[in-house]
């Protein structure tokens, strides 16, 4: 009977200590996980921040250095050449030449 009570007490103490050990292990693991998560998050955030800041800096630099193109002063010659190009200079010349040939031929015919 005394042995029973003694054994019962021993087992109670063992269970209590086992629970305490499990609790301590859990608390320690949780704390370790928390610290590790916190540390890694800090690292990720930091790298993200640096990256974002760089991007922002680049955009800002691009905006600051942007300059509107000034309208170029166009000379009369430029306008002339521009118009010639737009109108297809070679065709124009050809047409012009053809006209001159026709005039020239007509002139011959008339003379002949």
């Amino acid at each position: 009977m005394m042995n029973d009570q003694f054994l019962k007490n021993v087992h109670n103490k063992i269970n209590k200590k086992q629970k305490l050990n499990y609790g301590l292990t859990f608390a320690f693991s949780f704390a370790l996980m928390f610290v590790m998560t916190f540390t890694s998050m800090k690292f990720i955030d930091k790298s993200k921040m640096e990256f974002s800041w760089k991007q922002f800096e680049e955009v800002e630099f691009a905006q600051d250095s942007f300059e509107w193109e000034k309208p170029i002063e166009i000379s009369q010659d430029d306008i002339y050449y521009y118009l010639l190009e737009e109108l297809d200079l070679y065709n124009f010349i050809e047409e012009l030449a053809e006209e001159e040939q026709i005039v020239f031929i007509n002139k011959i015919k008339l003379e002949g």
Binding site: N3, F6, L7, N9, V10, K13, K17
Partner: protein, 176 residues
């Protein structure tokens, strides 16, 4: 069934084997604690703690020494831990009892009891190794060879420490 077989059974997962070990060694562990503390309730508590520690450390048991020697070591550590706690508590206790040495008459049972209490309280004050040897020698009546094995010291060192413990105890009793 011998102790080693019971330990192997316990380590193999048989919890009943542990109970058998406890039942087998319970009486002398309680007796040892009782001898050095003089308080049956505390002695039972200390003995229970010894078996709880044994339960968690039995996987570390190397089958070189006997189980009894190993349990003695755990019990001595547990007693030393108790003494240390007592000492710490006594720092905060202002009204500490002064145990005066009664006039000793070996034929008077109450005198023997009182004297026993005084000696027990003085043993608490001995240095750790002297205290351990005194407990094992006086209350367990173990030979010095076994005491040396339990405490991991030589037989001669145990004898010398026991002599020093006796000198200290005599000196303290005289000064009271």
């Amino acid at each position: 069934m011998d102790d080693y077989t019971l330990i192997k059974r316990f380590l193999g997962g048989d919890k009943q084997a542990f109970d058998e070990i406890v039942i087998r060694h319970r009486d002398w562990v309680v007796g040892m604690a009782m001898g050095s503390l003089g308080d049956p309730q505390r002695a039972e508590d200390i003995a229970q703690n010894v078996f709880v520690k044994m339960y968690f450390k039995l996987h570390q048991f190397r089958f070189e020494a006997g189980l009894k020697t190993w349990i003695y070591r755990i019990a001595m550590n547990e007693l030393n831990l108790y003494y240390r706690k007592e000492k710490m508590i006594s720092w905060f206790r202002e009204d500490e009892e002064e145990h005066l040495v009664p006039s000793y008459n070996p034929d008077d049972e109450s005198d023997v009891k009182k004297y026993g209490t005084v000696v027990r309280n003085l043993v608490k004050k001995l240095p750790k190794i002297q205290r351990s040897i005194t407990v094992l020698r006086i209350y367990q009546e173990l030979p010095f060879k076994n005491i040396g094995e339990i405490l991991g010291i030589s037989e001669n060192s145990a004898k010398v420490s026991f002599y020093k413990a006796k000198v200290n105890l005599k000196k303290w009793i005289k000064n009271k």
